[in-house]
């Protein structure tokens, strides 16, 4: 066999290796990377679930580390995530603010009464506008926000015990406690 016939074979082999490595090691496999990571969180303000006359927003939370967790009673993956969030809340390193997304208040309150409440405060996004403004595609999704209001990490799916430690806690300074967020009157 002449060596020149080996050239297409070699090119094919290189392509196979490149595509194999690319497909298996790409961080973007099935995951939508958020362009908002590393940037100020877009201003948001939403009514508090337990007292819709009051509201909470990014301004009130400035100066504190917090996790903004989008969930809904209609979301089965959120049920899988729930025990991890409950454990995370017991650790009390960083407060978790829940955004009850496209849901009914009664169903959300019933869900939390039955399964426990991992959130410092819960706000309701009935219209879904805040979810779009934060680039949320599906529930659950969570944002870790630093005291300057910068999104330092986004989890585009279910938080596991491992990702909670590796991606969230590792970014929060150990001395950071979880002060309770206080809503303002809307």
């Amino acid at each position: 066999m002449k060596p020149r016939f080996l050239v297409p074979l070699g090119v094919f082999a290189v392509l196979v290796v490149v595509l194999f490595v690319g497909i298996n090691h790409s961080r973007e496999v099935g995951v939508l990377q958020s362009p908002l990571v590393g940037h100020q969180i877009p201003d948001w303000e939403l009514p508090v679930l337990t007292d819709p006359a009051k509201s909470l927003g990014s301004r009130e939370l400035k100066g504190q580390w917090y996790v903004l967790n989008f969930w809904g009673t209609w979301c089965y993956a959120c049920r899988a995530e729930h025990p991890i969030l409950l454990q995370a809340q017991r650790d009390a390193r960083v407060q978790i603010i829940g955004v009850d997304w496209k849901d009914e208040n009664d169903l959300a309150l019933e869900f939390l009464a039955k399964l426990g409440n991992p959130y410092s405060l819960i706000v309701s996004d009935h219209t879904g506008n805040t979810a779009i403004d934060l680039g949320v595609a599906a529930a659950p999704e969570s944002f870790l926000v630093n005291p300057e209001g910068v999104i330092v990490y986004k989890e585009p799916g279910v938080i596991t015990a491992e990702t909670w430690k590796r991606e969230f806690l590792s970014r929060v300074p150990p001395q950071s406690s979880a002060p309770a967020a206080t809503p303002g009157a809307s």
Binding site: L32, Q33, P35, K102, G128, I132, G135, A137
Partner: protein, 143 residues
């Protein structure tokens, strides 16, 4: 045959209605409606990945379509609307990637491969024609 034609016609009508049912919302101004139609066909449903916003009845697609209608009604340009959605969902939301240096390989590679293929084809044809010429000459010198 006639029954088959009636069946096909009914299916076409049903398909049309199904497409309509995904997005029954319309804009009051026909010019805005036309821009809206183009935008929802050019933007991807971020949850269902291979459907456009126009084809998807997922909640998020419904909400993003509403957001687009609100922005169009507020006088925002198509570029501003696309820019806003890209800033939230990355370029993934665009079915047609932007022309940029970062995407140059994406747009340039097919053209490069086409030119490369053409050059290889020309070379092979040229070499074969030389072979034929040589054979002809050989035939002439040794009848």
């Amino acid at each position: 045959m006639r029954a088959l034609l009636v069946l096909v016609a009914l299916l076409l009508v049903a398909a049309g209605r199904m497409a309509w049912a995904v997005d029954p919302a319309t804009m009051p101004d026909p010019a805005l409606q036309a821009r809206y139609e183009v935008l929802i066909h050019e933007l991807r449903c971020v949850q269902c990945e291979n459907n456009s916003l126009a084809d998807s009845d997922a909640w998020i697609a419904t909400d993003v379509r509403r957001q687009i209608r609100d922005m169009l009604a507020a006088g925002r340009s198509d570029k501003e609307i696309k820019g806003y959605l890209v800033s939230r969902y990355s370029e993934f939301i665009l079915f047609r990637p932007e022309y940029s240096w970062r995407n140059a390989w994406l747009w340039g590679l097919p053209l490069f491969l086409l030119i490369l293929g053409f050059a290889i084809a020309v070379r092979i044809i040229h070499q074969r024609s030389l072979l034929v010429d040589n054979e002809d000459e050989a035939d002439v010198s040794h009848p």
